[in-house]
Amino acid sequence: MTDHELMWRIAGGSGDGIASTSQNFAKALMRAGLHVFTHRHYPSRIRGGHTYTEVRAKSEPVQSRGDGFNCLLALGDSFARNPQEDAYYGDEEIKPLSENLDELNEGGVIVYDTGLLDSEDIPDFEQRVEENDWHVYPINLREIARDHGREVMRNTAGVGATAALLGIDLEYFEQLMAESMPEDILEPNKEILHYTHDMVEEEFEFTHDLRVPEGSHDEEQVLLSGSDSIAYGALDEGCRFIAGYPMTPWTEVFTIMSQALPEVGGVSEQVEDEIAAAALALGASHAGVKAMSGSSGGGFALMSEPLGLAEMSETPVVLVEAMRAGPSTGLPTKPEQADLEHVLYTSQGDSNRVVLAPGTVSEAYEQSRLAFRIAYGYNIPVILLYDQKLGGELMNVPASHFDREPNPDLGAVTTEEELEDAPHGPGGKFYRYRYDAEDGVSPRSIPGQKGGHFLVTGNEHNQAGHIDEDPTNRVTQMERRMSKVEAVREFLDDRDTQTYMGPDDAEYGLITFGSQQGTVEEAVARLNDAGHSVRGIGVSDMMPYPEEEMTEFLESVDEALVVEMNASGQFRGLTQKELGRFGDKLSSLLKYNGEPFEPAEIVQGFEASIQGQDVPDQQTTYVPAAGD
């Protein structure tokens, strides 16, 4: 693997510019014609604490973090201070080097900043270097940065050094710097970049054979995160109102929208709590604007009240739920897929909502649009479920993917002309909640429309919206609301939102949902290359569940392994519940240590599972099928 792909990891302390440097690094490689994918790891701290980002680059499309990495740039944690010998957070100073060695592949390259790091502080460093055939380049990046600019420019020196070692043209970095930096910072950065690059070329004899791959794109690419995609999907679909409260990792979507909305004449509101946030989205939607809100686990818990009101009142709204590891505040900056049951079933009464879970950065755009189309087309709340991994990872996508026509259609609403002929109750109220609505969708009117006034209530209500506890009315209205979910199921079935991988007639199945889709896709390809017969599916529709497609899939294979990032196998449970069978065919591969799967873990887990062995990796768990 390592010979035709670059897996570059930059490590340092939080606040040392790891995120921005890696983003530029990824963009430079994308501009150089490569396909890129990033994976970030950071602690719940503002300054200091071990953080890293990986940039994987290949000449072919890439959609997972890969296995381990093959080039380390260790910058040193400039905020690490441990005056006590037994500090709570451990030996911070050396972490950017020491913490990253376990995952560095054989034959890998290490560049580290001798200005802040000393390899002699790692007792077995030399031994491990020899055993793993690593190629080490100690450089005083700190000193170079200080001599030619400012100490904070260590990251630029590091980029110059790895660019020399890997054979990356500096032109791409220079361009990016020129686009983002003011003149007084640009000049010293450029000087540091070139100085370090040339110094490394002159002073070191390169012992490694890792070089940046070559590639070219057929069409223009953009580098985007899942959060960008969700926000742009919402904007293109005509969303012009967002309300929220900050919480990691949902904050990313909220921030992007808050900066974009004033540009397109929309409104963003940061409010007192998540109950208010979701309620504001309902208020704006009720008054005739496409609106969204969202949060992460704990904040979404507060939204369960307004969510229920949206279901009962049939107020369209899109809520995004960015999962992080729980329970409670859990691991604030780490991914997990354990809020699935939370979003499916939270709030009182029978769930009457739609839940979509995009699997990739580009799917996130499509499904964000789809979420609004369903919400407003069917007057139903839609939850877009994703996780910290998908929200934060960057990937190149063809720019043309986003060049779509905006959709201002407000969905199932009446015009004033239509209101004139529409049925009204004997009390003068518009029949907002008609018993005889097609597909269960009874169009709404918008406040300010003449002849359209009606009553919204979270209580059970009759056709005009008046509170009504009559048993026949109750049953009629319940059935109408539930029938909308069935109508959405048909709508989604026509759109092929599930992603299939590998051959149609395989012996085994791999099932996943959400952010693990790309990694599973890579694992499926590897397993088939290795002589296994495996078919994969990335499921996007959580509610309504794609019954037909999943039944077909599961009937076509002998056994299937469900890959998900949680401890209780929530998606496997949902599959069994919805289909009412296949319990003996489904086993689970779970990971819940705060890190997403690597493809090799899925390959190993699959091989172990079909041989009835234990999974070799301590960080993943295999749960056999019922009855096994």
């Binding site: 953009v222 939607s285 009606f454």
Partner: protein, 312 residues
């Protein structure tokens, strides 16, 4: 034809337009103060000049929440304590609507207390009526945030150990630009204050004293009230914030001592409303957002054109 032709319609408004032609069965108890709010609100509408189709009345939960059922307009009977966030977003979505939020003392000062504080500080152009009867009525008589200290109920059998909430002071400190108190037993003043509140360009808070003859027979709202704006003994200037604070503080203390002071405590006509503030800093369009979705000529921006360049 405009998409919202009910808005700004110029004609004489009859208060009976706000009475449902098919009256739903009244669920308020005989003698309930809520009837007084309903009546005052209906009487105020012709003077405000708004018709039922341009009014959005958002309520919370409780007896007060039933107001929608007896008041003909666009109505949103929401959930416990959440009338304000729903109402203020509707106002942002379409500033041309007449937005009224209503709730009870439990709903508005208890579970919705946080929203009250924040809506007041943002100064949304809307009217907030709180039916204040010092009791939880619909859940059958529990101690509420405005029940006096020592108030006994099934949930606080030894008497409440808490001081009551001071709604007028709270509204003032939070930034409401119109603060008034009125009482169901005084229909003329109540109507006047509601007209003023609706005409006020900013957040108008009306603490509306109502009686609960079923669960709170001891409440002092039955006693004769004094209108601070008319009474000779008070030379109150409602445009003076510190005077208003003093007056509110006195009124809140004397209420529990048996003297009911009502009237307008604070009126700030100069402070811009939240929409105006947001428009001034470029965070809100001048045209009502909601209109766009019905305007075939509106040119919708694509994220692609605006934002995608930075990702190349």
């Amino acid at each position: 034809m405009s998409a919202f032709s009910a808005i700004g319609e110029e004609r004489e408004i009859d208060r009976e337009e706000f009475t449902p032609t098919l009256e739903p069965q009244a669920t308020w108890c005989p003698g309930c103060g809520d009837f007084g709010v309903l009546k005052a609100l209906k009487q105020a509408m012709p003077e405000v000049g708004r018709n039922p189709d341009e009014v959005l009345l958002v309520t919370g939960i409780g007896c007060s929440g039933k107001l929608n059922s007896y008041f003909e307009s666009y109505g949103y009977h929401s959930i416990h304590g959440r009338s304000l966030p729903i109402a203020r977003a509707a106002k942002l979505a379409n500033p041309e609507l007449e937005v009224i939020a209503a709730g009870g003392d439990g709903d508005g000062y208890g579970i919705g207390g946080n929203h009250f504080m924040h809506t007041a500080r943002e100064n949304h152009d809307m009217t907030y009526i709180v039916f204040d009867n010092e009791i939880f009525g619909l859940t059958k008589g529990q101690t509420s945030p405005t029940s006096p200290k020592g108030h006994k109920s099934k949930t606080q059998p030894h008497g409440s150990a808490k001081d009551p909430i001071r709604p007028l002071s709270l509204a003032l400190t939070s930034g409401a630009s119109y603060v008034a108190r009125t009482a169901a037993v005084n229909p003329n003043q109540a109507k006047e204050i509601l007209v003023e509140a609706m005409q006020h360009d900013g957040f108008a808070h009306v603490d509306f004293l109502t009686q609960c003859p079923t669960w709170n027979k001891d409440a002092r709202q039955y006693v004769p009230y004094t209108d601070i704006n008319d009474a000779d003994e008070y030379d109150h200037d409602p445009t003076d914030r510190s005077a208003a604070q003093e007056m509110a503080s006195e009124a809140e203390q004397s209420l529990y001592e048996g003297e009911v002071l009502t009237g307008r405590f604070y009126v700030d006509s100069d402070r811009p409303s939240y929409s105006e503030e947001k428009q001034a800093i470029g965070e809100m369009p001048e045209d009502p957002l909601a209109e766009r979705y019905f305007d075939d000529d509106y040119e919708w921006e694509r994220s692609h054109d605006l934002l995608l360049d930075r990702h190349k």
